[in-house]
């Protein structure tokens, strides 16, 4: 059962950011609790390197803190802005990284021995993330934002600075490529039973 959120955590993003800028840094804690985990998830799925992903999130949040005094209400959703900064930072890192070997798949954070089904699930997620890493960067970004982060196409279009149709095309092509990449491992990973 989710923990009850205190009143601070219920406030809108922009209110919290204004409160932080106004000298109430407790608001930063609420913003971090709300956004840092999702940004980390996104960056990790883009970069597949925890240290780099944490650096990206740290830099994105740092820019938010610096932007706080000048943040203009109503011009951009804070979450969209953060995703966009993180996406651009990931792109920069991926471009600097080329050409180079794919980074190793990160092991699941919890390596406690579990039931077989649990291990199979971890294997399936690792296989999905490995397949994602083989997609062209823009397709990967669109698929991750749409299907793993759960964002709507119009918001992804803003983050990626393209039209909604382009987002739809990128996700469709990305999913086709993913299906092809994962097809060969269907039996091995128990996809039929997942």
């Amino acid at each position: 059962m989710p923990m009850p959120l205190d009143s601070l955590s219920d406030l809108p993003d922009e209110t919290l950011l204004a409160a932080y800028a106004g000298g109430e840094p407790a608001a930063a804690a609420a913003l971090l609790a709300r956004h840092a985990p999702r940004l980390l998830s996104f960056a990790l799925r883009m970069l597949r390197d925890r240290a780099e992903a944490e650096d990206v999130v740290q830099e994105a949040m740092l820019r938010l803190w610096r932007q706080a005094p000048d943040w203009r209400t109503g011009e951009a959703r804070l979450s969209t802005w953060l995703y966009r900064v993180a996406a651009n930072l990931c792109t920069d890192r991926l471009r600097r990284r080329r050409p180079g070997p794919l980074h190793a798949v990160e092991e699941p954070a919890d390596d406690r021995p579990g039931v077989v089904a649990e291990m199979m699930a971890a294997e399936r997620i690792a296989a999905l993330e490995a397949a994602l890493a083989r997609l062209p960067e823009r397709q990967r970004q669109a698929v991750v934002l749409r299907h793993l982060e759960g964002l709507a196409n119009p918001e992804i279009a803003v983050i990626m600075d393209v039209g909604v149709e382009a987002v739809e095309s990128l996700t469709a092509r990305g999913k086709r490529a993913l299906a092809a990449l994962l097809a060969g491992r269907r039996d091995e990973l128990g996809f039929e039973h997942g």
Binding site: M1, P2, M3, L8, A19, Y20, A21, G22, G23, E24, P25, A26, A27, A28, A29, L32, A33, A36, P37, L40, S41, A53, E54, V57, Q58, M61, L62, R63, W65, R66, Q67, P69, D70, R72, T73, G74, E75, W81, R84, V85, N88, D92, E106, A109, E118, A121, A122, R124, I125, H147, L148, G150, V158, D161, K175, A179, L182, A183, F191, G194
Partner: protein
């Protein structure tokens, strides 16, 4: 794409969504430290509480800002542009939030609180499947002896 592939991919996505990466408490503490540092650098002067008027020149622009639909400096290579005239510093406001902040022990106290809160939220929202294997089967009863070494002190002589 075949319907079967589509369904299968959706199941994989759904599975991955339920198991987001763990968030490290030390990492959260670093993020909190950044927020504290930037706040301190700002000198503690209250920032504008009212939204800036629409159409006002951006105070921070990104590289290639002309095509940037986000007017808040969201580009990866964004740099700080000319700052808006700063408002005269005034005494830091001591509102209810500030008193709460002080009561929680300031940054060090809240960093720990945040780490625990986020970890709790994360576990509560995202990881029930991963702890299922730890739950005792219904009807069974197991005990955990936390002070096994001290048993001898409590035995009847």
């Amino acid at each position: 794409m075949a319907e079967r592939d589509e369904d299968e991919l959706e199941r994989r996505f759904a599975e991955a969504r339920t198991r987001p990466p763990a968030v490290d408490a030390a990492f959260l503490a670093r993020l909190m430290a950044d927020a504290a540092r930037v706040s301190a650098e700002a000198g503690g002067a209250p920032m504008p509480r009212d939204p800036l008027p629409q159409g006002r020149a951006p105070s921070s622009v990104g590289v290639g800002a002309a095509r940037d639909p986000l007017p808040q400096g969201g580009g990866a290579g964004s740099v700080s542009g000319p700052r808006l005239p700063s408002r005269p510093p005034v005494a830091r406001r001591r509102g209810a939030g500030a008193r709460l902040w002080a009561g929680l022990g300031g940054w060090p106290g809240v960093s720990g609180l945040l780490a625990a809160t986020v970890a709790g939220l994360w576990i509560g929202f995202a990881l029930p499947e991963s702890v299922r294997g730890l739950a005792a089967p219904a009807g069974s009863e197991e005990t955990l002896d936390l002070l096994a070494a001290a048993d001898g002190y409590f035995e009847d002589s």
